[in-house]
């Protein structure tokens, strides 16, 4: 009996390429989430300047009955300067790729450029914080390294310092509700760290996972891991790592804890993030190669160094 099989008659085309591409790995972007946004007007130079006045002293002494006027008071201003800088990235694609590849190459590339833009923005804010902000080493853990793994006492040390410096918390109280296993969440500062910290966070007895919030739907973003005392913690695979920075040479994971208005990101008016596509017939004498790009202005600074601390931890 003669039987026709794929051995004698293989498919002329051996495969089907699914044009819907698989998900690109996109880190959660946490560092730009809590920054203060300010605008830099166009035609106003290269630097944005923010100023903060020093408080007047208290007036604790009663005014004299003699009618004599007490001395006047004065103040000083601290200026925070930020240089506006431009960033960008581009790719060039030959017409054959667009013509012959099965997927929507240009659509997919534009998506990649968008991801690159936002990842860059977040990483720059992260690196600004890592470069300039004060740090404190965790000492409350027990792993024998310096710093140790994170502990509740370390968190408390940081929040005590921030509150002592009059930092304002960024999240309101989440009232307790009559739900098993839940607990009220304090009004809190924002905590930002690498996702490798998750086991250390969950190991703290007082750590409340987001699932145990009075209303878990009140957790912010999918990046919110949970809360510990006065800090709500957000994690990302793009969180900060300081390689080999512990006393034993292990990687250090800074847990950035900050209040409102601790970090500023400046947007340049008349130059928002731009996507630039130059089709091949404009870009190339032979109309073969197109280009795609993003350009943007990013400018970041610590706007109040007393309202942000990096808690250095190992894991």
């Amino acid at each position: 009996m003669a039987l026709t099989t794929i051995n004698t008659m293989p498919p002329a085309v051996q495969e089907h390429f699914d044009k819907k591409m698989l998900a690109v790995h996109i880190p959660d972007l946490i560092y730009g989430f809590g920054v203060m946004r300010r605008d830099m007007p166009a035609n106003a130079g290269r630097y944005a300047r923010l100023g903060r006045l020093k408080n007047f002293p208290l007036a604790m002494i009663p005014l004299p009955t003699s009618g004599i006027t007490p001395p006047s008071v004065s103040t000083t201003r601290t200026d925070i300067d930020v240089e506006i800088q431009f960033f960008g990235q581009w790719s060039s694609t030959n017409e054959q790729v667009v013509l012959q590849n099965e997927n929507a190459v240009l659509n997919d590339f534009s998506n990649l450029h968008g991801i690159s833009l936002r990842r860059t923005e977040d990483a720059l804010i992260r690196d600004c914080i890592m470069s300039s902000a004060a740090f404190i080493r965790a000492v409350g853990g027990g792993n024998g390294d310096i710093p140790t793994e994170v502990s509740a006492s370390d968190i408390d040390a940081v929040t005590t310092e921030l509150i002592g410096n009059d930092a304002k918390r960024m999240f309101q109280l989440l009232h307790g509700e009559d739900r098993f296993g839940s607990a009220p969440i304090s009004n809190a500062f924002m905590g930002l760290c690498h996702s490798n910290m998750i086991p250390s966070l969950n190991a703290m007895p007082d750590f409340t996972e987001r699932a145990s919030y009075p209303r878990p739907d009140m957790a912010l973003e999918q990046t919110e891991e949970g809360s510990i005392h006065k800090v709500r913690v957000f994690v990302s695979s793009q969180g900060a790592i300081m390689p080999n920075a512990s006393a034993l040479g292990n990687d250090v994971y800074p847990l950035t804890i900050m209040g409102a208005e601790a970090v500023v990101a400046i947007d340049q008016d008349s130059f928002t993030s731009q996507f630039v596509y130059r089709p091949a017939y404009i870009n190339d004498p032979l109309a073969r190669n197109s280009t795609m790009a993003w350009v943007a202005c990013f400018a970041n600074a610590i706007s109040d160094d007393e309202w942000i601390l990096n808690l250095q931890c190992t894991i």
Binding site: R77, T78, D79, S132, A134, V139, A247, G249, I302, D305
Partner: protein, 335 residues
Amino acid sequence: MSGIMIQPVQGYFTSDGTAKFLEIPGGFDWIETLNLTVAAAAASDDGVKFLFDPHSMAQGTGYQEQSTAAGATNALRPSILAAGTGFYNIDTSNQEPGASVALTAISADPVPEVTAATVVGLNNGDTVRIYNTVGAQQLGGIDFTIGNVTGGVGGTFELSYMAQIAAATTGTFRKIPFNPIYYPRNRVITKISQATQAVVTLSVTHGYNVGQKVRFVIPEVTATAYGMTALNDVVATIVAVSTVNNTITIDVDTSAMTAFAFPLTADGDFTPAQIVPAGMNTATALQYGVNIHSDASRNTAQLGVLLMAGANSPAGVDGDVIFWRAGQSFTINNQ
């Protein structure tokens, strides 16, 4: 590459006898240098022309054409540069530390001297991170600018701005390739004088300017360390800087404060004393004629190339005039 070709870039400089960094913001696929001084001089064995392709050549190497010695054929003689004498493709946003290197001693000298398994690849002004020490545990995880790098295998270097400590026997260090990319930077304090205008020494080259404000973080580690806790949380204005001693002078009188004392090896886990950039005192900057924006927060990362110095290296020797040209080009795989 597209129909828009990125134009080559070029320039020239006069060598000061040290390695030269050239910023090339667009990156490069090739670079060549021409030592005009050697080319114009009587024939010698010195290098005239150098070439580097970061895609096919190892970091620190390159191609060289040497002038031939007087009385010889007067032709250019080609050779491949030895590792460490040529070109390095540089991206200063790279924060990955170098390989771990064992150290065998840290001295108790006024400027602590480190004896290492090797100091090859280290230069004066580099930054190292020390950890896992036996003795001198208070240095663990802290970065230091180094100087007086001497020798190769078994060589030494100094922790240029560190206070005197008790000696250590073993440990490890890694070279930290570049500064954190944003300026101004948090810095660890190693010394503070007791003076009407205190002089503060920092462990790593600071880059601060007169007029900048800094906030002090001086933890209480023990009864004696860090000692000068009265300075904790004080915001001071910088009135002078020394790039030689890596110090800042501040407008705070510390003469009546307890002496600053760096912790000892037995002092356990502690947070290092540090200064934190806190903005600009514009009045002081104007008074001293300093750029009032010199404190500005900015990204300092650069792309470029480092040219090593020497008679047979692309940066030449002191006084040599070096022309350079770099560019981008298509890469075609011929394998």
